[in-house]
């Protein structure tokens, strides 16, 4: 058990100073996700631009260092990206997390997210790292289907 591979400095930094925290207007979709095992929760909003850019992701999260830091890193990675690109990043992160520590993280794509490579070795914590990502995917898809309905 290598604690420091789990609690990388990057993670602890994001935990102490989460980016993009708080709930903001405007948004097209808001979701509430829980980790049923431990009760960690996140309320998350997605605001898409007309051209499909992720304009804003705002959130109110209650949870452990891993889940908090993950939300912070996620927002850094998806805000400003095209939705499709953001969902690709989601896919890459998911793969890293489900890789049982065998997947080599891609810094180009994941930036600070590579710090979570160590989390993949702690199965009980994988859900923590994924909570906000899953919420993002859910909200983003809701938001984009709303856009389509309007169009």
């Amino acid at each position: 058990m290598d604690l420091d591979s789990l609690y990388q400095e990057i993670i602890l930094d994001h935990y102490r100073n989460p980016h993009h925290a708080g709930l903001r207007d405007p948004f097209e979709a808001e979701v509430h996700h829980v980790n049923p095992t431990c009760g960690d929760e996140v309320t998350l909003r997605v605001h898409l631009a007309e051209d499909g850019t992720v304009r804003d992701v705002s959130y109110d999260a209650e949870g452990c260092s891993i889940s908090q830091a993950s939300a912070s890193v996620m927002t850094d990675l998806v805000i400003g990206k095209q939705l499709s690109e953001a969902l690709d990043t989601h896919g890459v992160f998911l793969e890293l997390m489900q890789g049982k520590g065998q997947v080599e993280p891609d810094e180009e794509v994941l930036e600070d997210g590579i710090a979570f490579a160590g989390v993949a070795k702690f199965p009980a914590r994988v859900k923590c790292a994924l909570l906000s990502w899953m919420a993002f995917k859910d909200a983003a898809l809701q938001a984009s289907s709303k856009e389509e309905t309007h169009a």
């Binding site: 058990m1 049923p36 095992t37 431990c38 009760g39 009980a124």
Partner: protein
């Protein structure tokens, strides 16, 4: 003998109980595998290893033992999913036995007044009673396929039975009394034409046939751990995702929730929605080891072995005057459970006499009273084989039946 497992001696060594001596030091001849199968050492060892080295509650536990136990438990789910060729591991729900799995569907599947459920006259009580209770609750109608004199399903009135009002067709893949292998894929196709879902009781199929839920286009499939060389206390319900997602919860409690407040709760996604409370952890792990074991031997090889032994058994029984077999006489069209009557001797007495010679068979109605009634008998004797059964054990049975006739001075 064609089809017999070539490594039968080695396989028998895997089962410690086969060393047991009973009835004044005679070797055990276990011919009651359709009732419950024996357990190979690897299954017992997997359970002991879990209990001695890894035991913890799952999902909820963050610590090392908890992670190990969760991993082993969920690995068992993967194994079951692969065993059934399930499209998704989340479709595999652990229950305590096949009966609970069937009740889960019968309790939660939406039925209303005028809806119809169709079962068959050869079902195990566990696939009759839940549907009687469900249709009674809903004001729905229960109908069933009858049986031919040969012990096969009588499908002559299938058009009459399967109507647009038919919501569920629930039937056994292999009969535990008659041995009959039913044409489940064909029935599923017909059921789907009228929009009914198909619930297959694979309790007797899973031990001895390759069970592929996609190939037969089933909607729900149930089986039980203790008949596939696994432990008691564990069963499986497989169901299609859309269906499982649409059903309301069955048992409420820990692990099946998303959130709980005093006023209201919401449910976790499948499979957890249907797994309230601490699941049978060591039992699931034992089942996983059992599935590894029988898959390693090979379901095709087991099936061939069962057919060879069953053919030999049917020949043996035919040689005993006064024996009447209930069910198909063609070994290629049936499973390895053979129920029979012995003229002039009640099945209890047959079983008792055989037991005095170390031979274990089952006597009674085998939880299939309607099928017995159909054949005008109240009870029968049943001999059932499995991958460890030898031709010599069948010989012992046949000799035992002659001894029984002698003892009771019949024939």
């Amino acid at each position: 003998m064609d089809g017999l497992l070539t490594d039968l001696d080695v396989i028998r060594k895997d089962f410690p109980i086969l060393e047991r001596r009973v009835a004044n030091d005679l070797p055990l001849v276990y011919l009651d595998s359709a009732n419950t199968s024996q357990k190979p050492q690897v299954v017992i060892d997997a359970m002991v290893d879990q209990l001695e080295n890894h035991n913890a509650n799952i999902a909820r536990a963050m610590h090392t033992l908890g992670a190990e136990s969760t991993y082993a438990f969920e690995a068992a789910r993967d194994k079951v999913a692969a065993f059934l060729n399930a499209p998704s591991r989340d479709e595999v729900i652990f229950t305590k036995n096949a009966s609970e799995a069937l009740n889960l569907v019968a309790r939660t599947f939406p039925l209303g007044p005028g809806d119809r459920v169709v079962i068959t006259e050869m079902e195990h009580h566990s696939n009759i009673v839940p549907w009687q209770l469900a249709t009674e609750r809903a004001g729905a109608e229960l109908r069933w396929f009858g049986l031919t004199d040969e012990g096969e399903l009588d499908l002559s009135n299938i058009d009459e039975l399967l109507t647009p009002g038919t919501k569920v067709v629930a039937l056994t893949w292999v009969s535990n009394m008659l041995g009959t292998i039913n044409p489940v894929a064909e029935i599923a196709r017909r059921a789907h034409e009228v929009g009914a879902v198909v619930v297959l009781d694979a309790s007797q199929a899973a031990p001895q046939l390759p069970v592929d839920v996609q190939a037969v286009e089933a909607d729900f499939v149930a089986f039980t751990g203790h008949k596939v060389t696994g432990p008691t206390g564990i069963g499986v319900l497989w169901g299609r995702t859309e269906l499982l997602d649409s059903l309301p919860p069955f048992l409420g409690g820990g692990e099946m929730i998303a959130t709980v407040s005093m006023e209201k709760s919401t449910w976790a996604p499948i499979p957890h929605k249907f797994e309230a409370g601490t699941p049978p952890i060591v039992e699931a792990i034992g089942l996983g080891a059992a599935i590894d074991y029988i898959s390693h031997v090979g379901l095709d090889r087991i099936h061939a072995h069962e057919q060879a032994i069953t053919g030999y058994l049917l020949d043996g029984l035919a040689s005993v005057s006064g024996v009447r077999v209930l069910g198909p006489l063609d070994p290629t069209r049936r499973g390895g459970a053979v129920a029979f009557e012995l003229a002039g001797v009640h099945p209890h007495d047959v079983a008792q006499l055989l037991d005095s010679r170390g031979i274990a068979v089952r006597a009674g109605h085998h939880c299939a009273k309607p099928a017995h009634k159909r054949f005008g008998v109240q009870s029968s004797t049943r001999a059932s084989s499995y991958l460890y059964t030898t031709p010599a054990e069948i010989d012992a049975l046949v000799e035992g039946l002659e001894f029984t006739k002698n003892y009771f001075k019949v024939g």
